[in-house]
């Protein structure tokens, strides 16, 4: 569904992303691992149309080229991003934030059903529908950001560290929710520092270092790779 080929991004003279290729198919979770500064967020921003990739790369949704088109048209093509730092509209209510997510033409039919699905994923939001988002806690705002992206009826959902700020209990619920979203046929591209949990639910993964892909494979293979264990799963692969 989502295919990116030879993607590069530079900020001034700094090359943040260098010749990265990846694909996400229907009903599949692909996880992107890497240290802070490895280029993970830049990769998601380039896919979502928030930064312009260097010439020569290609991004396509269902075979249609979406490279370099504005972000709102990327959403219309079926790729939605939950950005790092949430990007919610603080002065608006939870309901308004969620309904804005359903603004794309592709998402207008079935809005009510999807709203129910989102509230089933995050029951906490049900009691907070009329509350201004800026008055909510960080973790609750994160739920709004994920819910808003889901409201756009994405074929591929990209999430930039969605577990950030969530309590351990909520992190568990988030990962179960991601598995349910995948079961509904949505492809998921997941940037996460919680490598243990994300590799446990992912189908495939890739490892970024200095903007380049330095490893890729089945999630189970990556989880067993000593280099990945050392870098992303903690000493001896024991720390959660």
């Amino acid at each position: 569904m989502l295919e990116a080929d030879a993607l590069s991004v530079s900020y001034g003279r700094h090359r943040a992303l260098d010749d990265v290729s990846l694909s996400v198919s229907r009903g599949e979770i692909v996880v992107v691992l890497g240290a802070n500064g490895a280029g993970k967020s830049t990769l998601l921003k380039a896919l979502a149309g928030l930064v312009r990739p260097a010439p020569g790369g290609r991004i396509a949704m269902d075979g249609r080229d979406i490279g370099g088109i504005p972000a709102h048209r990327v959403v219309e093509s079926g790729l939605a991003l939950v950005p790092e730092g949430r990007g919610v509209f603080g002065a608006m209510t939870v309901r308004e934030n969620l309904l804005l997510g359903a603004y794309p033409t592709r998402a207008r039919d079935g809005e009510a059903v999807r709203l129910e699905t989102v509230l089933a994923l995050f029951p906490r939001l049900t009691e907070r529908m009329g509350q201004a988002v800026r008055t909510m806690s960080g973790g609750e705002q994160q739920m709004v950001a994920i819910g808003r992206a889901l409201m756009s009826a994405p074929a591929v959902l990209a999430l930039d560290e969605p577990s950030l700020g969530l309590s351990p209990l909520m992190v568990g619920e988030l990962f179960r929710a991601l598995a349910r979203i995948r079961a509904g046929g949505t492809g998921i591209l997941l940037v996460e520092q919680n490598a243990r949990r994300s590799l446990a639910i992912a189908d495939r993964g890739l490892v970024l270092e200095g903007g380049r892909v330095v490893g890729r494979g089945a999630a189970a293979e990556l989880a067993a790779d000593p280099a990945v264990q050392r870098a992303y799963l903690g000493a001896a692969g024991k720390a959660a």
């Binding site: 900020y11 691992l33 890497g34 240290a35 802070n36 500064g37 967020s41 790092e84 730092g85 949430r86 906490r124 509350q131 008055t135 909510m136 806690s137 960080g138 973790g139 609750e140 994160q142 739920m143 560290e161 950030l164 700020g165 969530l166 309590s167 351990p168 209990l169 909520m170 992190v171 568990g172 619920e173 520092q193 490598a195 050392r230 870098a231 992303y232 799963l233 903690g234 000493a235 720390a239 959660a240």
Partner: protein
């Protein structure tokens, strides 16, 4: 106020009956706890339980509706944040709030101007360089802060907070979003601050860090404290598991 049987040092921070409502939502409701000099105390709780509001009340970003924030014997509740900075309370933010139009060095120099041991000019730049080195941003003083990654932005915020020479450092999920290698470095850095005499109150969801660092934990739920004690005991508490941890992270 405390009924402890053993003699304990005078607390550096004593929070007593703290309350703050936003409209009909009581975010912090009767919160009391102490932090002793040289301690690292973890402030835990589910999303929306009032942890960040508590930090905002202690750091002067918000005024409480009721209650006391006693720093070293003096009630400082309702003092503005800049006065509290002078008195020795430094903090970082959950979503990084660096001065993005300034360089890394200028961000830290700004902190140095408002701390307990203010510095200007060449001395400030010298100390800023040392602070940037301490948090792992060595040699990057001229870089614009707006270009930092999330993780490096948090490092810069810590350097700016340390520029206040704080007696009490408030960390709001400072270790979130780090991979295990970075996490080990972050834990070592916080431990080194404690060893250098800094007292730390940290909101944190990374349980490995809490187990490694915290002397005690206070767990909040719906604005109220539900458990307090050493990490091992608190994290095995049934109410804490039910409200906060879930079964996956409980115990071990």
């Amino acid at each position: 106020m405390s009924a402890a049987s053993q003699p304990s040092p005078a607390p550096l921070l004593r929070v007593e009956g703290l309350r703050r409502a936003f409209g009909g939502l009581v975010a912090v409701d009767g919160l009391s706890f102490t932090v002793n000099p040289g301690e690292i105390v973890g402030l835990l709780g589910p999303n929306g339980s009032g942890k960040t509001t508590a930090l905002n009340l202690i750091s002067g970003a918000l005024a409480p509706d009721a209650g006391w924030v006693v720093l070293d014997g003096r009630d400082v509740a309702r003092l503005p944040a800049h006065r509290l900075a002078r008195l020795g309370i430094g903090r970082t933010f959950q979503l990084v709030r660096v001065l993005s139009g300034l360089s890394l060095e200028e961000n830290v120099v700004a902190g140095l101007a408002f701390g307990r041991e203010p510095a200007w000019g060449a001395e400030a730049r010298h100390r800023a360089a040392a602070l940037l080195e301490q948090v792992g941003l060595s040699g990057r003083g001229t870089q614009p802060a707006g270009t930092l990654t999330y993780g490096d932005g948090k490092r810069l915020e810590l350097a700016r907070a340390l520029a206040l020479s704080p007696r009490l450092l408030l960390l709001d999920e400072w270790l979130a979003g780090l991979n295990p290698t970075e996490l080990r470095g972050g834990i070592a850095l916080i431990a080194s601050l404690r060893d250098a005499g800094c007292t730390v109150l940290m909101v944190e969801h990374v349980m490995d860090a809490i187990r490694a660092l915290a002397d005690r934990c206070v767990v909040m739920n719906a604005g109220r404290p539900i458990a307090e004690g050493p990490p091992a005991a608190v994290l095995a508490d049934r109410a804490v598991i039910a409200a906060y941890l879930g079964d996956d992270d409980a115990g071990g």
